[in-house]
Symmetry: D2
Subunit: 391 residues, 4 copies
Amino acid sequence: MLNDTAAPALGVGMVGYAFMGAAHSQGWRTVGRVFDLPLAPVMSAVCGRDPAAVREAADRLGWAAAETDWRSLLARDDVQLVDICTPGSSHAEIAVAALEAGKHVLCEKPLANTVAEAEAMADAARRARERGQRAMVGFNYRRVPALALARRMVAEGRLGTLRHVRVHYLQDWLVDPAFPLAWRLQRDQAGSGALGDLGAHAIDLAQHLTGEYLTGVSAQTETFVTERPLPGGPDGAADGRLGTVTVDDAAVFNGRLGSGALASFEVSRVAAGRKNALTVELNGTLGSLSFDLERLNELHFHDETLDAAEAGFRRVLVTEDSHPYLEAWWPPGHGLGYEHTFTHQARDLLHAIATGTDPSPSFEDGLRVQRVLAAVEESAAKNSVHTPVLN
Amino acid sequence: MLNDTAAPALGVGMVGYAFMGAAHSQGWRTVGRVFDLPLAPVMSAVCGRDPAAVREAADRLGWAAAETDWRSLLARDDVQLVDICTPGSSHAEIAVAALEAGKHVLCEKPLANTVAEAEAMADAARRARERGQRAMVGFNYRRVPALALARRMVAEGRLGTLRHVRVHYLQDWLVDPAFPLAWRLQRDQAGSGALGDLGAHAIDLAQHLTGEYLTGVSAQTETFVTERPLPGGPDGAADGRLGTVTVDDAAVFNGRLGSGALASFEVSRVAAGRKNALTVELNGTLGSLSFDLERLNELHFHDETLDAAEAGFRRVLVTEDSHPYLEAWWPPGHGLGYEHTFTHQARDLLHAIATGTDPSPSFEDGLRVQRVLAAVEESAAKNSVHTPVLN
Amino acid sequence: MLNDTAAPALGVGMVGYAFMGAAHSQGWRTVGRVFDLPLAPVMSAVCGRDPAAVREAADRLGWAAAETDWRSLLARDDVQLVDICTPGSSHAEIAVAALEAGKHVLCEKPLANTVAEAEAMADAARRARERGQRAMVGFNYRRVPALALARRMVAEGRLGTLRHVRVHYLQDWLVDPAFPLAWRLQRDQAGSGALGDLGAHAIDLAQHLTGEYLTGVSAQTETFVTERPLPGGPDGAADGRLGTVTVDDAAVFNGRLGSGALASFEVSRVAAGRKNALTVELNGTLGSLSFDLERLNELHFHDETLDAAEAGFRRVLVTEDSHPYLEAWWPPGHGLGYEHTFTHQARDLLHAIATGTDPSPSFEDGLRVQRVLAAVEESAAKNSVHTPVLN
Amino acid sequence: MLNDTAAPALGVGMVGYAFMGAAHSQGWRTVGRVFDLPLAPVMSAVCGRDPAAVREAADRLGWAAAETDWRSLLARDDVQLVDICTPGSSHAEIAVAALEAGKHVLCEKPLANTVAEAEAMADAARRARERGQRAMVGFNYRRVPALALARRMVAEGRLGTLRHVRVHYLQDWLVDPAFPLAWRLQRDQAGSGALGDLGAHAIDLAQHLTGEYLTGVSAQTETFVTERPLPGGPDGAADGRLGTVTVDDAAVFNGRLGSGALASFEVSRVAAGRKNALTVELNGTLGSLSFDLERLNELHFHDETLDAAEAGFRRVLVTEDSHPYLEAWWPPGHGLGYEHTFTHQARDLLHAIATGTDPSPSFEDGLRVQRVLAAVEESAAKNSVHTPVLN
């Protein structure tokens, strides 16, 4: 757990400082205190449009400087890595510009709001890679230790041939029809609703954990509450008017992975009582794995090769030294939380930059997810017909 | 819990005595010992093709007589109710004949192997109803107390407007490719595979619990292991030859209920580690319910109307006197098992016969399920396109 | 699962027909329908003091005859086995008389209300054993399949050397101070309260599962609600008067097993929300087991010999053919209920009688429990001082 | 979540930088980034005996300076608060000196190794309080949000009159007899074993959550593995010799709270498969609460006042804005980890210092725990006799 104090510095500049910005900041502040790093991140500057607010955020979150124009942030010499935490509509422009300005990039998920944007970003990342730059997309759940362990076990063949992949991501913050029409409910900013927000995670995990790609999908999407209060009053309060919700509340879709395994997905923001229920189950010929983000320190493993009299899903508390990322944290049984995924993400990106290897997930991986999202929307618009994912 | 000893007798004749026959027998033997009944069932005769085996089964299971031809069973004066526990391919013929012979009928699920058969059976039941006969289909899980409680709570409006219905039924007995080609894996006898066996339960529950019907579905089915050992050796042992599996191993499908709620389904016989995992979740605007058949004495209820600081899924142990069927059993906390559903089914059918009311589920309900099964297969054959359920 | 129809008959006579009587009846009715038996039990007669009520119970529960004096029951030629389901205060007299009358005996737990009674019963059983008679005490939870599996695994050495045994049995039916002063709350009939009712099960399981005996205990007992309504009104309704509760509501005690393992116990009837929470945990040097009667089809096993990265408590669904008693029941995943323990108890007693072996648990085992109960009460009366169990 | 940037600074100096030191550092680094604080903590200096190691720790953990003598740390002008993270044997000397030097003190638990030491510390704290200094003991689990919520609910009367308090703290890192004889296994440094380490937490929680004190206890302690390898080799490796374990591996004890409720405790470091299983259950006349540190984001609440048909333990995910500490963290469902308790502890101590109020838990609270620990050891030495806690 020693920190190499001689590690060269790497300046980080972050765009956006809301929920994701706060989470990324916690990652950048913490990573060097916990992990031994090849590069020492320096929190150079944060960027936002409101001068007073961004200044306050810089102080609170620990950034040395504040900028109000992302182009200025990109122009700073003390920024070698641009961390994009804005709504999806601005990802492509900022990320491409940052890459063209010679910066490494970490971009929040989903990579973009359209396949065309994502392709442009992946192209820019490809060109930048030749110049030694790295581009990563923020599917942070790959770095929940239990899911990293799941990936390791699948890769080691512990599940045999996969038959089923089942990923649900259920939340309930839109159950109340009085919840206002925030930017996440507007297509022009968010791209889509539960689909892009939650479905992107679900799809990325299905592809990452299995090491396979979805070849096609059949889908339904739904907006149950079609009008919501406009937050036009002071401090985002309702102003009495209603606006139209332009994204989905929920999506259900099924598909197939390259190996022929069946994959099923369900994402919703109106599943009462489910707060952050990203559940994953993989069933293979030699075993099964089961996970729930609401209990993120646990992975449940069924070993089909055991005597049936003693077999069953076993609750592995993923807090052992031998578990991914855990060598740097606390003794067994002392669990981690949601925010640790951002610390792990920072660690892995710094290693990728230092070693000149592609980070995981790359922009190419983000594009792969984007293509599935597009196929889902196309299938939903075409009477759920099975729609190939164009790769 | 008093048994009215003056209750008139009702003779029962059962066709088939394998797994379902044993379970039904347990129900018939027990129902009058536990519940107060308007009619006293008499286990008159059981029917099977092998004379020695059916004789042995009669003795073991408690039937007074044995028959080797179901037509003879129907001809018996001491049989007023015919209980059909044979593979699906023979349901229509026996059930229609029994109804035409003036008998009440209880028929195992799925009602039939085709919609045409199910329609003929529903027609026969309709005609028989006018003569005072009753016909019930054996969707026994309606009578798991926790699911009966779920039905009651939905009907009382505790969940508000439904948004999601999610029913999975996962088993794993076909994970091993050496499992033989039993009758349940042959289309001519079983009609379909996981779909008809497990999917029929899933569909019936979705419709029953919500009080709504599926209007259309989009589906995929899959047979992962396409050839299996033929059980041509002595006592059904493998004889070294392989035969073709003609039914599905798994099916995933989504649909919509009449109210617009999204319904999602997954059934499989190759989900390693899941033994009998019929899981049901309903999400509504006022609350949610969750159930797992592997823990059948529990119903989990989230009440969205509570203060968020104290809300969450609560584990109701469905063993209170005030819970469905429980007034006749043991004190709180003393759980029931799988077989109790058959005792409850017998009770409810006897009440329906005695009171001249339609049993639930009726043959019409069984036909409704059959039509969804047909739409699933049609959608799966047509590239998963959304396929209306023809009602 | 074949039933040997040539099995000789064994007439059973039961004393008492309340909760336990109903449960035992279900066992006697069912055992021969499910298990292959060496002796065919015949439900000859049931005995109770109220002529009309016992006659009604006989009809309902399936007993051929009704008696109003247990001595008459013992005198019947068609009774070879006497099944005692009365309150503890009458156990000794009936059991000793039955044994002296040449009958086999099954006696509900706790074996007696005092050590002296239990010793007399064990003496009678010892003498009767020489005449080929069998005596069993009804610690039915030994026959929950998951606990029978636990016993098997401990005996096979899967847990290594035991360090901890932890048994809690929590119920909540006395939380309400308006609950009436039933016989179970009166020392002269029940012997003790939660201690004798729940603690007897807990102690027997601790000794049975480990194969060891408690050498001493340190204890506290408590009666939180000291006066309750007298059920002097019609049908046992409150009559407005209060009576004194003469038994404990709860007991906590710790002790040591022969091997030096620490054993801890807690029993209560005032643990709000715990309906029938008999929880058992065993921790050994090679593994641990955990059980909860509210989920009686599950046994949780931690195998300490596995790689820590994959270790954890695994939920074994105890419904496999290879599990104790399960070969006779349903396919995997189709769970059993509380009452099945009585069917298993009947099976094992009939085998013991047929093979001339001592049943488990014997009266000697019941006496061993009684001695611990006495030590608990003595310790509680002596300022919790560690009190040896006199064996 | 705004941070008042004008908050006056408060210099912190920490003694010890192992497990607890790392956890406290994470708290000090993070607290001002997340919570709005009245005082801005400055991480002035850390102290340890090995110059190179403490220098490295300072850099890694974020302390501005390093000291090798705690007296020098106390002499620093930039240290107003001394945070003591050393083994228990040095707590008293350092804490009393720090208080006498005019510093506020945060001292890890258990407060001391003996009652005499703890009394001296509480005396020093009392005198210091009059000078405006604050002294807190690090029972960090009071600040798990779920347990803070439990405290709030008990205080609000949601459980009614308490009947049972049940606290177990089970770990398994000493199952392997090859685990070396670390300082935590030596009485002269650690004071006691599982008792002082885990039991102190258990006792503090029982007293804190209920707002009552234990009046007496009856106890057993045990050392199962009496000799362990001495870590005399390089880097603490075994050197082939064995040393005597001078502390307990496990302790079981029962007691009574002021109100008469029964309290039961079990702590162990040899409970195979239990990694950090601090489980708490409170049963009252109006409800019950249940908690497990291995699932620290959950509190289970049974509301006895609900209709029994809908009652049961409900799993409250303690991640709502309205839950203690949660207003500063992530959206609902995004769980916290073990280390957050130290951030919360820092926050609450800073508020206590700023507002001139006694922190919770105070040294007086720590002394109260110490007295129970002493009573446990005395009872264990006196044949488990009930031993009053001298307050």
